[in-house]
Structure formats: structure tokens, C-alpha cells
């Protein structure tokens, strides 16, 4: 029988919440090298494509595509993306866009594996590009899995599920 996730101990919940906020701060400050350090060596980082289906089909069929992803990354490809951002020619991020992660409703719970915990929460991301007066927005949910490695937490899986079936960012040159 599948065991239902349960709340984790308050201290762990606090550590995970603090991890999530610190991570957002690193990304907002574009400290990508330090950000990579927060990721486990076998990290999976997935941004799903949402499909609009009729209500009658939803019980049977997922509204999350298993055939296309906005991102499907491992540590190597994330390193490649970070490396790109440090070149002089990453035009999509020059000038760098300004990003804010508005994070809410964090639920930290146990995962299937005893040494891992999971966090589910919402993100409202606001991006400002150059001196354009209009912001870009994207609203999504994250399902993160964390593992303790040598005493500190590492992100070992991130699933991003956008609310919109059409991506509202003109390009994904940042990390969601």
C-alpha cells in the first residue's frame, strides 16, 4: 500500500523552507555558480508542458505532457546553461533580466525515500527585461525533492508545472 506523505519534523520543515528562500535569493542575484552547489550531482530539473484537455477526459488523461518539456535537465546541462550565462554572448540575458520569485504555500512532507523530503509550493515569477515597461509573468507550482548530503540539503529533483498551456515568457533564459 502506498503510504501517504506526512508532515516532517518542524526543524526539517524550517530548514527546507529556508533552503527554498536562499535558493531564490541566489537566482535573483544571478549567483549561478553558488546556485549549482545547491543541486545534487544526479539532479533532475523538469519544466512541464501543460495541455488543455476537456473535463470529461481529465480523469483518464494527464494534462501534463509526457512528450514535450520546456526543460528537462541534468547537472551537466544545467552547468552548460550556467556556463553560457557567463559568456559575453548570451544575448537573451544581456542586459540580464531582473527576476523575482514570489513563493507561497510551502508544504514540506515526507517522500517515498526515508532520506529525502519533498516540498510543494507555488511560485509567481515576475521578470523585467531591459527598460520595457511591461513585466513578464509566469505562475507555476514546484514539487521539489531534497536529500541530505554530508550534513547539508541538496535539491535532487525539481518539477515545475506551469498553470498556462502557452508559455508566457518569450524565452526561458532563467531558471524557474
Amino acid at each position: 500500500m502506498e503510504t501517504l506523505p506526512r508532515d516532517v519534523d518542524e526543524k526539517i520543515a524550517r530548514e527546507i523552507t529556508s533552503f527554498i528562500y536562499r535558493e531564490a535569493e541566489l537566482l535573483e542575484d544571478r549567483r549561478y555558480i553558488e546556485w549549482l552547489d545547491l543541486l545534487a550531482h544526479d539532479v533532475e530539473y523538469i519544466v512541464h508542458v501543460r495541455i488543455t484537455r476537456s473535463k470529461s477526459e481529465l480523469p483518464r488523461l494527464s494534462e501534463i505532457s509526457d512528450k514535450r518539456y520546456f526543460m528537462y535537465e541534468n547537472k551537466y546541462s544545467l552547468e552548460m546553461r550556467v556556463k553560457r550565462l557567463y559568456t559575453e554572448y548570451a544575448w537573451a540575458e544581456d542586459p540580464p533580466s531582473r527576476v523575482r520569485y514570489h513563493i507561497n504555500r510551502i508544504v514540506v512532507e515526507s517522500s517515498e525515500k526515508p532520506d529525502e523530503v519533498r516540498a510543494r509550493y507555488n511560485v509567481f515569477l515576475v521578470r523585467s527585461i531591459a527598460d520595457e515597461p511591461d513585466y513578464e509573468f509566469i505562475s507555476y507550482t514546484r514539487i521539489d525533492t531534497f536529500r541530505r548530503v554530508n550534513g547539508s540539503w541538496k535539491l535532487c529533483k525539481r518539477i515545475v508545472i506551469p498553470d498556462s498551456s502557452v508559455m508566457t515568457l518569450r524565452y526561458i533564459s532563467i531558471f524557474l
Binding site: 477526459e57 552548460m80 508566457t168
Partner: protein, 453 residues
């Protein structure tokens, strides 16, 4: 868009004076290798394009394997017109406007699904998946007995298929798809017709770019000149060093009828190798039989092929490293083969929806199928290392085009004009070294012709 008298909306559309004078000016300036920047911005031009251009060209709608079973449908667009592409109970693919004949409700809201009938949620008019009106609620007390449902089938859109690719045409008067594609079929086959198994195609990735669709189309009409600058990171990351330098140009710009065309990059070095060898051995054998010897020969010589079916559908075949393990420690993971399709859907003069599909032969090894989606995302998707920098440029051009000065600023289309076409044994006409604007000029001439005729 045909009415009962056989007169089409294209025949009666009134061309605003401002649009006509811009197009006529463009027609003249293109002879001198110049193009008014304003052609990327005018809102009135966008409105007329919907009718004169997208109303009469063959528009890519879907791949047959997106709707393999009877009743399967996808909701697609030609410009702002919603189209339901559905496989009927009889196995035939049809397309209908997503507009209820009764009061115009866009009756299907899902992006895809399976339905034996479509019931409009407004008043309940119900159509089968052949488009026939089969149900009118309370028909006798509403309309009386004389009401004839057979007169109110869904409005069918002309659909034709080429090697699995479904195209739709809003006009009844234009030549068939086969004539429209003509010589580009030779190049399209190399991408979509290597195996009898056909293609396995992904769901589309869709995203919105604040830009005019024609800047995308212009960029994909043979503009390789931007590679060494825009895509310099490919060299910096050692992913494809040749593509970030002047070597990127080593290949042929091929133009066929209707301003369809393809860039064909030759295999150069270990960094831009022949990519056919990254397809699996059985497929290569199949392709030898399925393709003509000319097609196979061309495929075997190339590093990649990027084609555009006029005016807004892209087809690509190549192989690319999936992550930094290749770039940092060369050779550890071989390039992964992939087929990519893209579509530029015009929403307004300054808003384009980009659609991206990945495909691979349906008989590909499972492991390769998994890897091919990864390479497609990382290169061609909205997070793609190549495409995101293109979009930055495409947005920038569109932004400039909004200036009132855009009308008298003339862009330069002179690259390669000193050259003669090469002797080319394959269909169409080709120029060597892809820093060349012959194809782009042809795109504009064809565009202007559609708009003015």
C-alpha cells in the same frame, strides 16, 4: 471562406491605401536589395495578411500521428482562425472551423482529445466527427419540421497531406498542396520520409513572443550570416565551434518555388560532422531504399538541413550534443539525431505564437527517442541555447519597426548578390556560402506578390 456565390473574401477585401503604398514601395525597393523596416510592424498590414496571405497559402496544421485514432482531434490555428483537425470514424482526416454554425461559439475548448461528436455548449448543436449536424435540441418546437440540418454542417477547411504533414487552406481556388510544395518535396522527404514507419511526433511546445512573425520567417529564409555573432556561445561552449565562426557559412542556400527553401550545411570537420551516421544502422539502410539516390547522397553529405515552407513552417534534421559532457570532454556522448518542426503563428502585428515539435522515426531505438527530445529542448525550444538568442534579435527588430521612422529606413538585402548560382544537380537553385540573401529576397518578393495580387 467560400460563400455561396463562389466569391471568396480574398476577392473582395479592400486594401487600405497605407498598406498598398507600403507594399508597392517594398516591391520597388526590393529590386534594389532594400526593404522598408515598417513591413515588420504595420497593424493594418497584419489584418490584410490574415486574408491575402494566410487565407490562401497551405498552412501547416498537424502531423497525422498526432491524431492516429478515429475521433482524435487537435485544435490548431491559421492566424486567428481556430481549426479543429479531426480523424473521422472513417479514418479520414478533416479540418473544420471551430465555429458553431448556429451562433458562432468556438465549441471546442480543449487543445486535443478524442470525440465521436462535438456538442456546442451554447445551445447544444451537435456535430459528428465528419462535421455533419446530427443534433439540434428541441428541434421541432424550435425550428419546426422544415428545418434541414444537412445544410448546416461545420465549415470544412480544405486539407491535404504530404508524408504525414497535414496542411490546410482557407481558399478553395488555390492549387493543390502537391503543386504548392513542388520542388521542396525533395528536401522535405530527406527529413520526413526516411522510414516506412513514419514519424513519432511530440506534443507542441507553445510560447508567445512580442514580435512580428515575419522577422522569424526572414531569419529562417537563409540567414546564416547571424550565426557567428548571435550564436557565438556555440563556439564558446565548444558545442559546435564551427557554427560560431565564419565557417558557419559553408553550405548551400537552396531556393525552390514559392520561396520555399533550405539551408544545407556541409559536413566540415569533427565539429560539424556528417550527421546521417548518428541515425541507427537499420534506419540508414531503410533510408537508402526509401529515398532516391540523390536524396540519400545529399543527406549523407550534410551536417544539417534547415528548411522553411513558405511562409511560416520550419523543418530541420541534424544531430547535436545533448550537454556539456560533449563540450567539455569531447566525444563522450555522440551527437543525438533529431527532427524539429516549428511554426510562426501571427497573432497581431507585434505578437507571434511559436510552436515547436520534436520528431524522430517511429522505429527509432527507445533510448534514442528519449535523448532526441532532450537535444530538441536544449537547442530549439523556448529554453534552447540557440533559439533564445534568435528570439532576442527577432524581438529587437520588431521593436525598431514600431518607430514612425521605420517607413523610411531601408534594410540591407545585398549579401551574396555578387555571386552566380552554383551548378546544382538537385531541385531548385543554390548559392554557395550561406551568408547570402537571395532566398530572403525571394521570400519578400513572394510575400509582396500574395499581398498585392
Amino acid at each position: 471562406m467560400v460563400n455561396t456565390t463562389g466569391v471568396e473574401v480574398f476577392d473582395v477585401i479592400e486594401m487600405p491605401d497605407g498598406v498598398r503604398s507600403l507594399l508597392e514601395e517594398a516591391e520597388k525597393s526590393i529590386e534594389e536589395y532594400r526593404l522598408p523596416l515598417a513591413i515588420f510592424s504595420d497593424p493594418e498590414l497584419h489584418r490584410i495578411e490574415q486574408i491575402k496571405l494566410f487565407g490562401r497559402v497551405w498552412n501547416f496544421l498537424a502531423h497525422e500521428n498526432e491524431i492516429p485514432n478515429p475521433g482524435d482531434y487537435v485544435r490548431r490555428y491559421i492566424g486567428n482562425t481556430q481549426i479543429i483537425v479531426v480523424r473521422g470514424e472513417d479514418g479520414r482526416v478533416r479540418a473544420f472551423l471551430n465555429i458553431c454554425r448556429h451562433k458562432g461559439m468556438s465549441f471546442t475548448r480543449a487543445e486535443m482529445g478524442n470525440a465521436s461528436f462535438f456538442r456546442c455548449p451554447y445551445h447544444g448543436f451537435t456535430y459528428n466527427n465528419k462535421g455533419e449536424l446530427i443534433g439540434v435540441p428541441f428541434r421541432n418546437i424550435t425550428y419546426g419540421e422544415k428545418f434541414d440540418p444537412s445544410k448546416f454542417s461545420l465549415i470544412e477547411v480544405r486539407v491535404e497531406t504530404y508524408n504525414g504533414l497535414i496542411f490546410g487552406n482557407l481558399s478553395e481556388k488555390t492549387p493543390p498542396l502537391s503543386d504548392y510544395l513542388e520542388d521542396i518535396k525533395f528536401y522535405l522527404d530527406i527529413v520526413v520520409n526516411r522510414s516506412d514507419a513514419g514519424l513519432e511526433i511530440s506534443h507542441p511546445e507553445r510560447f508567445i513572443v512580442p514580435a512580428n512573425w515575419k522577422v522569424f520567417a526572414d531569419n529562417f529564409s537563409g540567414d546564416i550570416y547571424h550565426f557567428p555573432t548571435t550564436h557565438r556561445t556555440l563556439a564558446e561552449l565548444k558545442l559546435a565551434p564551427a557554427l560560431g565562426t565564419e565557417k558557419a557559412g559553408e553550405g548551400y542556400v537552396v531556393m525552390t518555388n514559392n520561396a520555399h527553401g533550405a539551408d544545407i550545411r556541409l559536413a566540415l570537420t569533427e565539429w560539424a560532422p556528417q550527421t546521417y551516421k548518428y541515425w541507427w544502422p537499420e534506419l540508414i539502410e531503410k533510408a537508402k531504399k526509401k529515398l532516391t539516390s540523390d536524396q540519400f547522397e545529399l543527406w549523407s553529405m550534410m551536417n544539417n538541413l534547415v528548411g522553411q515552407i513558405f511562409p511560416n513552417f520550419i523543418f530541420i534534421t541534424h544531430a547535436f550534443p545533448i550537454d556539456s559532457r560533449y563540450g567539455l570532454e569531447k566525444g563522450k556522448i555522440p551527437p543525438v539525431p533529431v527532427i524539429n518542426f516549428r511554426l510562426w503563428r501571427p497573432i497581431s502585428h507585434n505578437r507571434t505564437e511559436v510552436w515547436v515539435w520534436k520528431a524522430i522515426e517511429a522505429d527509432a531505438p527507445e533510448e534514442l527517442k528519449k535523448l532526441s527530445i532532450l537535444v530538441d529542448i536544449r537547442i530549439h525550444g523556448s529554453s534552447g541555447l540557440v533559439f533564445q538568442d534568435d528570439i532576442a534579435m527577432i524581438h529587437g527588430v520588431s521593436e525598431s519597426a514600431l518607430s514612425p521612422r521605420a517607413r523610411d529606413i531601408k534594410l540591407i538585402y545585398e549579401a551574396g548578390m555578387y555571386k552566380e548560382p552554383v551548378k546544382w544537380k538537385y531541385p531548385g537553385m543554390a548559392y554557395y556560402i550561406m551568408f547570402d540573401e537571395h532566398w530572403a529576397l525571394k521570400f519578400w518578393k513572394t510575400y509582396i506578390k500574395y499581398m498585392l495580387e
